[in-house]
Symmetry: C2
Subunit: 335 residues, 2 copies
DNA sequence: CTGAAAGCGCTTACAG
DNA sequence: CTGAAAGCGCTTACAG
């Protein structure tokens, strides 16, 4: 059994009120009492119960985080920077990994509510009706990180995905490519599905390039799907000279597939990724990618959440960060 | 302000005791009262405070996890399987990312104690004296996952790192290699530093192969250090025909370095990794690796922790899992 | 089957 | 500067 404040008080020969005062660094405690208390704390190995404290202060210092896939380099990097920001603000993270499991997500949101987390961060946008309703009902500040769901009431920290995809495609066009394949995301996702697809299409049409639908495919952002979609594309009669995948993972899958078919990146096919995850520098050839400011995103997400918490839940409005094209080895001029 | 049990009681016209009974699924509540209560709960959007509940039940359902680096594929995969096991046992995870930051670790362990977590999982073995003392003093069940620190009182879920490294090296020897380089870990780490190094050395000497010290180097398990150590090795007069790196990340770094020096893997140099992380299948050539059962490790770690918790902290003893060599493309017979 | 009361381990007015 | 008392939101004997 852990010692409690009463034990400390008894050992120090003071009241629990005084112990509490020392614990909370209040002034107006005589030095000799303070010393006695600290000695008792040390000797008993006393650690105040955050549970009891939370109950009376109505403050838990807890943030709930919902991550779609912990093993993804993109999400784990955001999570890492969120953790850093949380920790330096005195907050602790309750982490839930949902792998497309809506029931688990629903359950966890309830747990978050029961734990009285002060805020919630969600990193995906597949929010169904039931969950949307729950979020509103819970009345806890929520920030979406890297995505923007349909519901306008939700605040997000994002980049301009349309513009980013547009710029990525434009870069390929400027390299002289005219047959530019596309491996998109889930079209039920506004941010990373629809917006990036629109950016790609509009860049093509703004440059009078005909859209070739057989070279447009959609995956689930993961390596394997990039591989599979690329495999299909390689069977087409007009194989593209460049391919833009809307995640680095899919871009890597596409590169691997091309290599496994004895073609070369970038000599035969240029590959453009999206996200700017750690992978881009780990693979060979290194991956040219439209980078999201991943670290900043985590930090700013926590900042926005802190702000919304201190404003008693009044939304802060979306924050749009800058994207940035990082040129590496996987794209080159068309001969 | 969230509604409380009193509000529900008033709305349903019953006592708080009855509401509590309904909440906890006790029998002995008449159906009509139960219905009234459930209706009130629904209507008020009431969620019981886990904080208050924890205080009286002395049970928080919280597990604290200390991860050395969330962005590492190895740790994030273990964490993911820990999360899964925790969640299905009704536990929630408080996650702390320490990047070689002992102060932060110390601080977090205290937070864990204050939060009254029921158990702690630690995934690194750089435990200094201060932290060792704290862990013992806290009197909370702790399991080390994938590592075994010096202190015999700590229980671990691990593989036999010595044997695994021995087997990995032996495999290279059996492929006909005689100049086998080594990129080790931190020699202050018993498990992943010293044990793997011993396994390598003993495999060589058991097969009467002379140890060439200039081809033995040590990194920090990360990609960059694998790259750097390999670069040094390539400057030696006798460049090895195979290199065993004690993490997949370092193995990848070594591969990249070899490629950047216009040599080929495995034609010129074979590369053996360690861990069996996701990376092994994502890179080209795919990486032959001595695999730890990563998913199982997370699950078993949680199992061991649950057991230790139910036994009131009495240690369960180490659990040693099987390693497994997974042959992929990066190693081949010496010509 | 139901409820009043005590208690979980703290903090915070309030009084002195 | 210090302490007794009330209260945070629940659960759990205890009594009926």
């Amino acid at each position: 059994m852990q010692p409690k404040i009463k034990d400390v008080a008894r050992a120090a020969g003071v009241s629990v009120t005084t112990v509490s005062r020392v614990l909370n660094g209040e002034k107006y405690v005589k030095d000799d009492l303070k010393n006695k208390v600290n000695q008792a704390i040390e000797q008993l190995g006393y650690a105040p119960s955050q549970i009891a404290r939370s109950l009376v202060r109505k403050k838990t210092n807890l943030i709930g985080v919902i991550v779609p896939d912990l093993t993804s380099s993109f999400y784990s990097t955001i999570l890492s920077s969120i953790e850093e920001a949380a920790s330096s603000n005195g907050y602790n993270l309750l982490v839930c990994n949902i792998i497309e499991d809506t029931d688990k997500e629903f359950k966890y949101l309830n747990v978050f509510q029961e734990m009285r987390v002060e805020g919630i961060i969600i990193m995906h946008e597949k929010i169904n009706e039931e969950i949307r309703t729950l979020i509103h009902k819970m009345n806890i500040p929520v920030i979406f990180s890297s995505v923007k769901p349909m519901d306008q009431d939700f605040t997000s920290v994002i980049i301009d995905d349309y513009k980013a995809a547009y710029d990525a495609t434009k870069y390929l066009i400027e390299l002289g490519h005219e047959e530019i394949g596309f491996i998109g995301g889930d079209m039920r996702d506004i941010t990373s599905g629809q917006n990036r697809y629109s950016g790609y299409r509009n860049a093509l049409s703004d440059h009078s390039i005909k859209i070739v639908y057989e070279n447009i495919r959609f995956g689930d952002y993961k390596v394997r799907s990039g591989y599979e979609q690329m495999k299909d594309m390689l069977r087409n009669k007009q194989v593209p000279t460049a391919v833009f995948a809307v995640s680095d993972d899919m871009a890597l899958g596409a590169m691997n597939c091309i290599r496994d078919h004895s073609l070369r990146v970038p000599e035969d096919i240029s590959i453009m990724g999206f996200d700017g995850s750690l992978l881009t520098e780990l693979v060979r050839p290194t991956l040219t990618s439209m980078e999201q400011p991943i670290h900043e995103m985590g930090r700013i997400t926590m900042g926005a959440l802190m702000k919304q918490i201190s404003q008693k839940g009044i939304p802060t409005g979306d924050i749009v960060l800058e994207h940035r094209l990082v040129v590496r080895e996987s794209c080159r001029k068309r001969e």
